[in-house]
Symmetry: none
Subunit: 443 residues, 2 copies
């Protein structure tokens, strides 16, 4: 029994599952505390908790059951296993799949400047190949330097250029795209590419590094190798970010570009999914799919929609927030605001007049939560209803960065408030997750 | 059958529940798709979906079942309905530790408004005692209503009043303080109390609830019971937040008021430590200490420092951030800004002139990271050094909300930029953690 048949299960719980002959995806019945649960065994993603068994029940909901000695596990059926077999080898005359690496800068392409002691963005994409010569064994790789900027300087004009370059490469026959990009604003850029490159035939993967490439602990070789392999061979066609999954150097997780946040300043596994599961994992030279809500690789015509607006802002609410700041944006003819509210979507009532004014001015106001995980819901508390009455639009389980980038994109497509609203609430590239997973532990 | 007996249920599902004679809290068995579920009927809060039946199962987990015509609902028992009887008066001679409950509002003190269906802030602190009569067995409790506001409306004037009331109660002999407070801005208020109440002799604990108190799944009884016990008996003297630690209903974790964030919109264990371990855990009627970096309970003279400034703001940087927004704050004579930068503390270089201007105007600019976990470090990249050269102050492992509240407090103590800088960098109440713990898994 290989490891991936009981992904994430360890200790006594794993032993019990093995004894019952149950593998991920199998049907089972679990009895505990004189209650019976039926469903299919789900993989665990977190690696530190070895006590919870996760079952997808017939109702479609997932449930976590704490392991105890008197738990009885019975296998009741074998589910069709998802196939993670390698794609057929390309015919000799076709050669290896083509992967285009588009470099924008960042730590994966940087090294220490021995004059200032700081890190500068410098390395060419050819240098990347020099660092990881194995790349040429898994794909027919070409590499371009599009920009050489730190990611904090990247904005909508870079996004337009990045999308255009990726589009051109796909039209020219690329089977996968890699963007090398600084990690600091990578989540914003991956959201931007998700909206700017629709109807994708193949993966578009952001790769970066939390360590500069001339340091021994650098993670860029692993991230680049995994990224190129996954771009070339993975069965999905979405924009995602792929960096280390955990403290080990062995696995890389690919997280949907609209559902990902950099949650730590320096660890190599800083990127975590927000209200979603990772799409896939690269480990031991293979890609394993982890998410059943995914766009498959296909023979489709990509669409390039790379216009964005700079007339919108992301605003984090806080106690004693000055409502005049919202008026400032309205006075400056902004067309949209995303408010990172507290909890389920609440802000101080002294902001209500500005929200009302925005509606009158035809300005979109979207509400997300500064909590990171979970969904906003303006129907629970009376103050939420007051916001809805003034035209504010709750944006469900989208987090602030994605909502902001999507709004910039929507305002690049249309100027009509009603159309902006409609677009913002349409699930274009799986940026809303109707089945937000249970919260795994944080912090 | 009054409306509140089937809160949130409508349409065919409600008719089926009425036909089965089931009310909120009752035990029931539901058969559907040849699967059987046992548990208690939960109220619905979202009012827009009339198709899901919510059951709290014996395991403690909630499950949602989609209604279908062949669903069979059977009532198997009547749950004790919540009683709101008045508590017995504590005997004066009993000699239990004194705990003062200061109510500010929020869900722990709220209930459903049956007119709008929303939740309103209403219950008196006496009612809290009625809900949890066992409180009188662990402490000599007194309860005051200081404010009745939703937490999104709380700001520095409330903080001044809250600190004063807690100070007065401690001076009058309280052995512990409980604030009941809405969870949405609880992290900001707990940071405010941490700075406003220094040299504490006893615990000051924020207690709240993620569920309103008339719902069977409410966590307020457990949170209040644990909070009062811990305030009365725990060996530490710090400001902290205490809500559920995990999915079980059994343990409550107490997290330092300056190192805590609400990380999920709705789970009962939404509060997680930021770059710190929890201080303590309440479980099985006992307090267990979890953190060796703690101020012990002691016979000390508390200091009341409850002045704050409203001339500062928390600003979240994002791509295409308009630097004119920083100038707006400077034009409005703000005295300090906290910038939530990306990664290790980077912002777009077009913000540098405003940072330079702030220094010339004697305005404090602090830099934190929007990553939540980890520390800023402006010495790694050349752009970071550029910020330091312009007078920006990196704030190590403090997160945005705490840095903002601390700055409001510092500017309430002094107007001198140099003194503000010195105070901001001094570890006053363990708001900096020199030994930031490893990152546990998130998301």
């Amino acid at each position: 029994m290989t490891d991936d048949r009981l992904t994430g299960y360890r200790g006594k719980l794993r032993t019990a599952l093995e004894a019952a002959g149950v593998e991920i995806g199998d049907k089972l019945e679990v009895s505990v505390n004189s209650q019976q649960y039926k469903g299919s065994l789900m993989p665990r993603v977190e690696t530190y908790d070895e006590w919870h068994l996760i079952i997808k029940m017939v109702s479609g909901y997932n449930i976590g059951l704490a392991y105890s000695e008197d738990m009885n596990i019975k296998k009741t059926g074998t589910a069709p296993k998802p196939e993670f077999k390698q794609p057929p080898l390309p015919e000799a005359e076709k050669g290896l799949p083509k992967v285009s690496i588009i470099s924008t800068g960042g730590t994966i392409a940087s090294r220490v400047d021995y004059v200032t002691g700081g890190v500068i963005s410098a390395m060419s994409s050819r240098d990347l190949l020099a660092v990881v010569p194995e790349l040429v064994e898994v794909a027919d790789v070409d590499a371009d330097i599009l920009y050489s900027v730190f990611s904090e300087d990247i904005g909508m004009e870079h996004w337009a250029g990045m999308a255009k370059r990726a589009y051109d490469k796909i039209k020219a026959g690329a089977d996968g795209i890699i963007f090398t990009h600084g990690t600091d604003t990578m989540g914003y850029s991956s959201a931007a590419m998700s909206f700017a490159l629709q109807n994708l035939p193949c993966p578009v993967i952001f790769v970066g590094s939390q360590r500069s490439s001339d340091r021994p602990s650098s993670d860029n070789a692993t991230n680049l190798m995994g990224g190129v392999y996954t771009a070339a061979h993975a069965p999905f066609a979405e924009v995602c970010i792929g960096l280390h999954e955990n403290t080990s150097d062995e696995s890389i997780s690919y997280i949907r570009g609209t559902k990902v946040r950099k949650c730590h300043t320096s660890t190599r596994y800083a990127f975590q999914p927000v209200n979603d599961f990772p799409l896939a994992r690269y480990k031991d030279g293979k890609v394993e799919m982890l998410n059943d809500r995914v766009r498959p690789r296909q023979d489709s015509e990509p669409r390039l929609l790379n216009k964005f607006s700079d007339k919108c802002a992301l605003v984090k609410f806080h106690p004693d927030y000055n409502p005049a700041v919202l008026d400032y944006f309205l006075n400056e003819d902004y067309r949209g605001l995303i408010i990172e509210a507290t909890g389920l979507g609440q802000v101080h009532q002294n902001l209500w007049p500005a929200v009302e004014r925005a509606r009158k001015d035809g300005v979109f106001v979207g509400v997300v939560s500064q909590c990171t995980w979970g969904k906003v819901n303006l129907n629970v508390y009376s103050h939420g209803r007051e916001l809805i009455d003034r035209g504010a639009v709750p944006l469900d389980d989208m987090h602030g960065e994605t909502a902001y980038v999507k709004l910039k994109w929507c305002l690049g497509q249309t100027e009509e408030l009603d159309d902006v609203k409609k677009l913002m609430l349409t699930n274009l590239v799986r940026e809303f997750n109707p089945r937000t997973p249970y919260l795994r532990r944080m912090g």
